[in-house]
Symmetry: C2
Subunit: 381 residues, 2 copies
């Protein structure tokens, strides 16, 4: 078989030392031939998701980072705060590859017919270690992009689309009929909004300022509540009364927002009842925290009876519960609606070397709404 790729390729790595020093660097790794049911992908677009940033920078304050090494092989170092260091014992002194997902072109395929069928195709992959120039990926972690879709179009085919679809599927499987979403102007939030509009699901979008509210309304969002508005609590009760939402997905976590959402859900439910119960409404109210944009503690004041829960939520265990057939149905929908429902937008693209420049880090590590970046490991430096 003709070898169409170099024997080694660049890969981005993150290492936390026992003493608390973070080292982010590039390393040359071997590029083996793909196994029978694998394809070798030349990665051309991989998003920098909040979950990638967490692994990449390990909670270090990157405004205090420093850079050394050569221009082609830069290394960035920073201090991991003691408060989070102890939770990282299992990764001490392990050089970890980064990048949950990405997309690129299949340049070599394993011996199986299914693998061979992908040769030359543009695919998205949930392979891990996608901040690499070349990556062998098992077929079941690939999604063939529709004709005409570029790697950038398909770079975010998994994490955000499956998370958004997973939220809707969770809503259905747990008996709710409408949804609340916080940090709702994010890429993910806009995607969820498109899904809910298309599927006729009432979605309550909570945002943190007026311009985010305007953005969401401009793409058709029906229920938008701005938590910086003095009428926020009343606004939220009103739209929860209309929508009947008793399930929220919260990207923020820290602070009182989860508690406020439960309180407003309870107020909306109690409007429809006349019977007093000191245990509150018997209708279950659920907040799933799936992100940590607010890193402080969650404060729950329990002013919403006894039928409530707050808990962590991640898409991967949800998909495991859903099973392979159910997951495949979600993936098929992503492929079919890649350039509409599941379109992502990016503020820019950086190469692997650029990803290790302090001035780039200052921009892409902000995780601000509308400011998501792509890494293109095959972009010329």
């Amino acid at each position: 078989m003709q070898q169409s790729h170099p024997r080694t390729a660049l890969q981005l790595r993150s290492l936390v030392k026992r003493g608390g020093e973070l080292e982010v660097s590039l390393t040359q790794v071997p590029v083996p031939a793909p196994a029978a049911n694998e394809v070798l992908v030349r990665v051309e677009a991989s998003p920098i998701n909040p979950s990638d940033l967490g692994l990449l920078f390990a909670g270090a304050d990157m405004t205090q980072a420093s850079q050394r090494g050569s221009k082609e092989q830069p290394m960035v170092t920073a201090r991991v705060p003691d408060a989070v260091l102890k939770s990282m014992a299992a990764r001490f002194d392990v050089s970890m590859p980064i990048g949950n997902e990405g997309a690129g072109v299949v340049v070599e395929a394993g011996s199986s017919a299914a693998a061979q069928a992908l040769l030359g195709k543009t695919v998205a992959a949930l392979g891990g270690a996608m901040y690499s120039q070349y990556r062998n990926v098992p077929l079941e972690q690939c999604l063939v992009l529709p004709a005409g879709a570029s790697p950038a179009d398909g770079a975010s085919s998994f994490v955000n689309p499956l998370t958004a679809l997973g939220m809707v599927a969770t809503m259905r499987s747990e008996g709710h009929t409408a949804l609340v979403h916080t940090a709702a102007a994010s890429n993910l939030g806009q995607m969820l909004n498109r899904i809910c509009l298309k599927d006729g699901i009432a979605l309550v979008n909570i945002v943190r300022n007026r311009s985010q509210a305007d953005l969401l309304r401009s793409i058709g969002a029906v229920h938008v509540c701005d938590s910086s508005s003095p009428s926020f609590v009343q606004d939220l009760i009103d739209v929860l009364t209309i929508s009947g939402a008793t399930l929220a997905f919260d990207a923020i976590g820290g602070g009182k927002l989860a508690s406020q959402i439960l309180m407003c859900m309870e107020a909306a439910l109690l409007k429809k009842t006349t019977q007093y119960s000191r245990y509150g409404s018997p209708v279950h109210k659920q907040v799933y925290v799936y992100g940590a944009l607010g890193p402080g503690p969650i404060e729950l004041n329990r002013s919403y009876g006894m039928a409530w829960a707050v808990g962590g939520w991640l898409v991967t265990p949800f998909l495991q519960k859903l099973g392979p057939a159910g997951t495949q149905r979600l993936k098929d929908r992503v492929a079919a609606e890649l350039k509409t429902t599941f379109a992502s937008s990016y503020a820019g693209e950086v190469s692997l070397v650029e990803a290790l420049q302090l001035e780039s880090i200052a921009v892409y590590s902000k995780a601000a709404t509308g400011k998501k970046y792509l890494i293109n490991p095959n972009k010329a430096v």
Copy 2:
């Protein structure tokens, strides 16, 4: 049919006025003949549970209460704090009877054979409004006490026993194998300890001081952690490692204890793993808050990955999920082990009139460990 009871009888009532005044009083209510599938119970023992206190005093500060009315018909008044008043709109100006459960003698029975079979028997009842001299109760809310058991023996046959058995049943149905319990020296905690010892379930008892720890050890508790000890966190991690408990029932709620329990569960789980995941251990960690001994906000610091949940738990919805057959099996066990596993102890007994004396209220409203009181509505004043 011969009428063996007076036409009217005393009943304790609690009323919250729209303006925030609480009125606790005695009223004469009619005593009708029981319906076909009811029995009329002369109530002789009804416990003052924390849930009864909540309804009775509506969160008012009873140290500031005042008393008026006659010796035979006293009335106690107090102010409901504004902070909790708004959650009580549905009970404004409604005179509510109190008393979840109790026991007494069946003095008259409905026409059905099943009802007639209970005539003269001592029964426990989850009837509500049990702070009444006489109470008509549907058969399905009754439990016939074993021969020789007094009303005081059976007064607490439902709330604590079914709550404790419900915790164990929840543990099994949600796939956990051991339990954590807070405020573990309570009547309920001692009962749960006896159940777990009998059934071979590892139970981690968390108490708030040394004397409670000693009390629990004296009745055979194996794992006891004192939250006032400087080594509490390490002690808790150690017993969670041994027991493998990933489910806790928390009577306290307010503060950081729920978060500490989750953190210690996570630490115990991570000891058994070598693979780093920034999402923490994939094993689900659950805290159910079933009480509010600590009325402040719950603070969750999320230092335990993503597989966690905190939520409210109540026995009644749990039994509804369990269904009538499953619930009957639990009740049968309570009757069979009433004087052993499910024995309760009381600090004293008050009449209805005594229950409305400020000096009695000062004692029984404390809800202190080992200081639970019974109301005997048929006790001579």
